[in-house]
Symmetry: C2
Subunit: 553 residues, 2 copies
């Protein structure tokens, strides 16, 4: 077991472990080459091929780790031909390291007091060659601070294989680096944090359904990058019209030119309830509970009005186009978060897609996209781009990592060795969903009568028409009472809350509480998690189960 | 056990069993009163209330039988105070019976050689008072010939309770009645008939997926009434415009005025795969296998063009309206088959709702609605009204039985005692569906390699994006290959066929083959039938399972 933490004066316990050879793979010549335009790489060694996925912007929630696993396994299988425990490393200055900034000059980086020649890894980097070269000749820390996924044992183990020296002792103090997340806004202490940098958090389930509209402070937060600091005064939304003409709209102009439109919309992260999938088999991603879903009353302008103003008509939809969004949240390489939705979703007659500047009657909070964000009712959270910088229309979906190589569903048979992201459609509308928010799992409930509460929602404006609840694991069912706003058919964008009060069976010591919802197309939730398991842990919408103990009289 | 069949000279074995008293319920005064406009009746006996549903047009696929069950149970629980086995009945002539044609004069009917005073039953008739009064003073046979649901033991048992006499012997021969189904067209002998009158039949599963477009002769047939004989020359479609002005359009006028539009559309009966639900617990309805679904290339005019011509604009959709259809197929009381769809389904920009006069390049066959029918892509078969007579737009859904009190989904907890049809939405878009068409259940398959075939489809234009197949009951999965037309996103109206060729596990003696599909909104099929069981046996879309034996080498 390798424990990795800083000890005094910037030294790391890492150095005390035997090092692995950088040439571990030399015995089996393997070539990694980009085999597709959109981020799928192939590794051929003459006998078999693996595929891993290039993780845009080094985000690495998934494929990067999978690659690391392969690499580590390969390395561990290979006895270290050059291991010389205790042998001294050459010592370099930062200036010397700084001369190695390209493949021609070799690519060197530092981490702590150690120097690494990662030239041979550049092409292997799951996040892409261009991203890793941003760190060439300097320290890795500022980049890894940006992408917390690197702070894992096997990533450092991988790096170790490339060690070529030590920094001269007088230069071993950590380079002073700004924390890219230092400017993130303060958050409510009740939130359950799944990742601090970038910030990802959900409210406690028991608070989630206390109110029909989720308070802004408690609304689940799902950031992919640091929260950008956007000055409202200088903010301009760029809208690319037909022919490439770019319209720039200030916030006051947007508010003045287009009618204000308000819609109550539930947003749900594709990974909501992922932790239930991880219990079946480990998946890659943030371990969301049941509360990566929230509802707000959004106010803003209709995207269709803005697109019409830019010169697009409803007829432009012919031939299938996409409306692409770019956020102002950018990675260190300057690449923005991005996503797209089908043109028809944006421009349909009943389309309620908003460019929102208000959330529950307040100015949009920074964590939710201040000053302007997209709200796409009925569609997965990932397309609801925050800190909106640019809107354009394209024959192609957004080229962003999150559109192309993430947020897609796969068969349980597909693993990181076999996944091909081009074979699955980007998630847009989400399937029917429901979960129990009270009682809490493991709670002790009084005998007599029990009230079960929860939420239910479906994508595509398909309202929830019924929620069935069972206290006996699904053998018998009762119909729950639905509460909350009942929106029009085809435009039921917000959840329904529900509750059921039922007698606790007198002889029951435990209850296996289950809920399942039915939407307006009579789609239902699947019974179990296993058959919908997928490597990214998205679309987790099996029946929700909560087991509780019944107190004795 | 009561065996009921005609014996010589119009006599029935029925008369040989002890009769039940007509006053069986007298001890508990109960009043059946219509409690709602649309066919829900309440039975109050002071201590509890039941609800049953009035079955329009005596169709009786369900609620009528449920009512009969109540009645029978009540009757059986009550000792027959007036039973006089062997006592002679008074004898009446048909003329005498004919004088009893109203509630004031009492309502008498004959069945076989027996005479019944059904006055007290008129208000109880699940099919409605007006329908039963059509038979007043005469024979039941022509009505029961129309609605085969009456040919069941407990219906006759119910009738028996009202016996008041016998027909005079010289009048006991069956009245000569035309068979309302005598004019039905000939059908293909390969069809598996679920009901002859009205005609309901499906193709054998193994033929269903032989071709992507189902041959007209094999396309599943679901009639609610006799096939009307419509003369093309005199045919006029009535279209009610805003303000009630009625437009009449002949077939040549329709073809001349509006552009021809062709769409490949899969139609599925709400009851497809109902037999699987019946295996869990008996449901009311035709015992469809997996083939109450078929696909054709439909040609006709767009409904939106016709509605626009009649004066409706897209904006008329405000406030939610419905497009109501009436068929030319009518019950004996003159009530037409009817259904409605939301206005937005008909008038949306991408709406492909057709008034179709062609099916797979041929004139519409009589069984499929000659000369004109509605084809509503992505929506349950029941709304695809055949032999279309009239189109109108209304603030209300179609008042027809089939819209109001049938073709709705309920919780497995709801039975015929508790069902309230006003609480569930009329089925429109159907949920994701798939089934295995080969190998057949119980087949013996060779060892080595197995090819599994089937279909997959989803409602609302949501294309099928994946089909997973398991040979081991759902423990492991493989992704099937999809074939057939790939239609545009949001307008994927037709099924995909699929197949998977996989090695048969060498040690397997039996295979539990399972399929499940995923649609464009990532909705999936539920694992099992029990939790989606419903009293009408509709929406049966659990994983499909076929068990086969593996032949020895």
């Amino acid at each position: 077991m390798l424990l990795l933490r800083p000890i005094v004066r910037g030294s790391w316990v890492l150095q005390r472990t035997p090092r692995l050879a950088a040439v571990a793979w030399g015995a089996h010549p393997q070539v990694w080459t980009p085999s597709r335009t959109h981020g799928t790489w192939s590794l051929g060694d003459g006998s078999r091929r693996w595929k891993v996925t290039a993780v845009g912007a080094l985000l690495g929630l998934g494929a990067g780790l999978a690659y690391g696993d392969h690499r580590r396994r390969a390395a561990e299988a290979e006895p270290d031909a050059e291991a010389m425990p205790g042998a001294p490393y050459p010592v370099f200055t930062r200036q010397e390291v700084g001369r190695h900034r390209s493949l021609a000059e070799r690519v060197w980086v530092t981490y702590g007091h150690e120097v690494f020649d990662i030239t041979d890894f550049v092409e292997l980097h799951p996040g892409g060659k261009s991203k890793i070269l941003l760190a060439a000749g300097g320290a890795l820390e500022p980049f890894w601070a940006m992408y917390a996924v690197h702070s894992q044992e096997h990533v450092l183990q991988l790096l170790r294989a490339y060690k070529v020296g030590e920094l001269s002792p007088e230069q071993q103090s950590q380079p002073t680096q700004g924390d890219p997340y230092a400017g993130d806004p303060p958050r409510h202490p009740a939130l359950k944090v799944n990742s601090l940098k970038p910030f990802n958090a959900e409210p406690p389930a028991e608070l989630l359904t206390e109110t029909y509209l989720t308070p802004n402070q408690l609304f689940f937060k799902r950031n992919h990058l640091p929260v950008p600091a956007v000055a409202a005064a200088s903010y301009r939304l760029q809208v690319e019209g037909p022919g490439g003409r770019v319209l720039e709209l200030s916030l006051p102009e947007l508010k003045r030119r287009f009618p204000k439109h308000e819609v109550t919309v539930t947003l749900q992260c594709a990974g909501n309830r992922r932790s239930e999938m991880s219990r079946v088999r480990q998946v890659k991603g943030l371990e969301w509970g049941v509360a990566a879903i929230s509802t707000a009353r959004w106010g803003g302008v209709r995207l269709r009005d803005v697109l019409a103003h830019a010169g697009y008509g409803e007829e432009e939809a012919a031939g299938e186009q996409h409306v692409c969004f770019e956020g102002l949240d950018k990675d260190l390489g300057g690449a923005a978060y991005g996503a797209s939705i089908p043109f028809r979703t944006a421009m349909g007659r009943g389309a309620d897609v908003l460019l929102a500047y208000e959330m529950n009657g307040e100015e949009l909070p920074r964590d939710h996209g201040y000053p302007l964000r997209v709200v796409v009712p009925g569609v997965v959270g990932a397309r609801n781009v925050k800190w909106l910088g640019r809107v354009s229309v394209s024959r192609e979906e957004s080229p962003s990592h999150w559109q192309q190589n993430d947020y897609k569903g796969f068969s349980p048979a597909v693993d990181w060795d076999t996944v091909d992201f081009t074979t699955a459609p980007a998630i847009q509308e989400l399937p029917v969903q429901s979960a129990i928010t009270a009682p809490a799992p493991g709670a002790t409930v009084p005998p007599g009568e029990l009230t079960v509460k929860g939420y239910a929602w479906s994508g595509g404006g398909r309202g929830v028409v019924r929620v069935d609840v069972s206290l006996d694991g699904g053998r018998t069912w009762r119909v729950a009472e639905l509460t909350g706003e009942e929106q029009g058919p085809g435009r039921a964008w917000a959840w329904r809350l529900w509750q059921l009060t039922a007698p606790v069976p007198p002889d029951a010591a435990e209850l296996d509480i289950v809920c399942k919802a039915v939407d307006a197309s009579y789609n239902v939730q699947p019974d179990t998690v296993e058959p919908i398991w997928n490597l990214r842990g998205v679309l987790s919408n099996a029946w929700h189960r909560v087991r509780v103990t019944v107190a004795e009289e």
